[in-house]
Amino acid sequence: MLKIKGLKKTFYPGTVHEKKAIKGVELTFADGDFVTVIGGNGAGKSTVLNLIAGVFPADCGSIELDGVELTTMPEYRRASMLGRVFQDPMRGTAADMTIEENLALACRRGKHRGLRRGVTRAERQLFMERLAALDLGLEDRLTTKVGLLSGGQRQALTLLMATMQRPHLLLLDEHTAALDPRTAERVLALSRQIVEEEGLTAMMVTHNMRDAIATGNRLIMMHEGRVVLDISGEEKKRLTVEGLLARFARVSGETFDDDKALLA
């Protein structure tokens, strides 16, 4: 269970560049919630995910995940509870290391890293099975440098790394946005499959309204640093893109001047 209370974040406070990115967010996710997050550019979606992951500290508020207080924990320690996939396929993997080395790093997330072998034979076997399930032909390329893979392959690998050890919360930040439509479809389907099969609690930011509606059991919309819509259950199942746009106009008091930003 994720509990976020009174979360606020201002970048460059007290300067001309001051930016109130998050102006008080309250969120509670039940175990197994698969929440899609939508909102225009600069709404604060990535910032919320980064605050949960600890990329930078919050100004105030608290973040608690499965009973663990994350608010002041350093990023690398929170990592033991989180799986993350980023928009940029370059960000989630180490390009100079091989596929198996990257996966082995993920297997040791949150564990002590000592002088034992960085990757074991048993793990290689496991990696081959998991990679074969992706159906991208990566299972025979364990010793290929990740830098040589395509964006889609890297995202699929990052997804596998994020879920190799069951995360308490999976954070997906527009992780299909940099991919061509077919690959994006593929990676999204894979994400849905993994989240459903493992019963993970997950949060997925997307600019694609149809994906946001079709994926998960709950949808939230952010606007100017706040959560302005929170739709779940039967109501979410009945959602349409038009309906969503109309509801956005009602809660925010403005119409979507830039539908493309949301529909992309």
Binding site: A53, V55, P74, E75, Y76, R77, A79, S80, L82, R84, M90, R91, G92, T93, A94, A95, D96, M97, E101, A104, L105, A106, R108, R109, G110, K111, R113, G114, L115, R116, R117, G118, V119, M161
Partner: protein, 310 residues
């Protein structure tokens, strides 16, 4: 010409032995520059710290191997200092190295007590008077360090350092404390440099406060020259050996240009120019390729049809 060749061949064993010892230093540079992706300037002083501690201990009657172990440990301490300046005080990488380098100069002077400390009448593992022994002893140390690094970088800890160098954000997302991996890598690197300093002072028969000046450039030159060797690329261990071989090539070239008449005082200018070129050539090539592409695109635009360029 034949005279030059003869004197060059005569100087070869000395150049090779010195190159191997500097090659051990280059291994340290490879750890930071290539694996951690950190340009660490501490080495210019930590080399001397290793040499100084080694010299003082030898004169106090300590066994040469124990003195080398101590040289390695003080080198690691130098790396720790730089690492803490960078990770705990948030000082940029280059500046952290410069600060430790400067601070260590005073410390080196304190250890040595004067700017040059000769190792008279003490037993050493190797000496420049016997290049063959020096090559063997240096070679054993170099191979032992290559073996250690090859093993270490396949451990969980070693993977964590490599991930830190390759993609710090990813490393943190995978639960790696990148501050501590950075510090550890700097310690290993400077430990190697301190060891090289100790070996060099035994080899030369003295420790001098200026002996590490420009060491980073020699280290980089060795790493880059090593990378140019085609058949030492396929494996991690071979790439490390390449850095040592790079050190040997560097010293052979230096010996050759000195004997061809280059003034010793111009040597540092020469080394800097070689490294600047080696670092710059790949970028210049890229620029040239971009220019060619732009030209051919222009030609396509003018004729409406693409023409093969010769």
């Amino acid at each position: 010409m034949s005279q030059l060749l003869e004197s060059f061949l005569g100087a070869c064993p000395g150049a090779v032995s010195q190159g191997i010892l500097w090659g051990i230093m280059a291994l340290g540079v490879a750890v930071t520059y290539r694996i951690l992706d950190y340009a660490d300037l501490t080495v210019d002083s930590s080399l001397c710290t290793g040499a100084a501690v080694n010299a003082v201990l030898l004169l106090a009657g300590v066994h040469p191997i124990a003195a080398l172990a101590a040289a390695t440990v003080v080198g690691m301490a130098a790396g720790l200092l730089t690492g803490l300046l960078h990770t705990q005080l948030g000082i940029p990488a280059i500046l952290s190295g410069i600060l430790s380098q400067l601070a260590l100069y005073s410390i080196n002077m304190r250890i040595l007590g004067r700017s040059n400390l000769p190792l008279l009448k003490v037993e050493t593992l190797l000496t420049l008077r016997s290049p063959a022994t020096a090559i063997i002893v240096g070679g054993i140390f170099a191979l032992a360090m290559v073996a250690f690094l090859t093993w270490f970088f396949t451990t969980e800890r070693g993977y964590a350092i490599r991930a830190t160098g390759s993609n710090g954000g990813m490393a943190r997302a995978q639960g790696i404390n990148t501050a501590s991996t950075t510090v550890l890598a700097l310690m290993i690197s400077n430990g190697l440099v301190g060891l090289a300093g100790g070996l060099l002072s035994q080899y030369q028969g003295y420790a001098d406060v200026n002996m590490g000046r420009g060491a980073i450039v020699i280290g980089l030159a060795s790493v880059i020259l090593g990378e140019a060797i085609p058949f030492l690329r396929s494996r991690f261990s071979l790439r490390l050996i390449a850095s040592v071989v790079g050190g040997v090539i560097y010293y052979l070239v230096i010996t050759l240009v000195l004997q061809a008449g280059l003034d010793t005082n111009d040597l540092k200018l020469f080394s800097a120019a070689v490294v600047a070129l080696a670092l710059g050539i790949p970028n210049l090539r890229q620029k040239a390729a971009a220019k060619r592409l732009a030209k051919s695109a222009l030609r396509v635009g003018q004729d409406g049809q693409r023409k093969e360029t010769v």
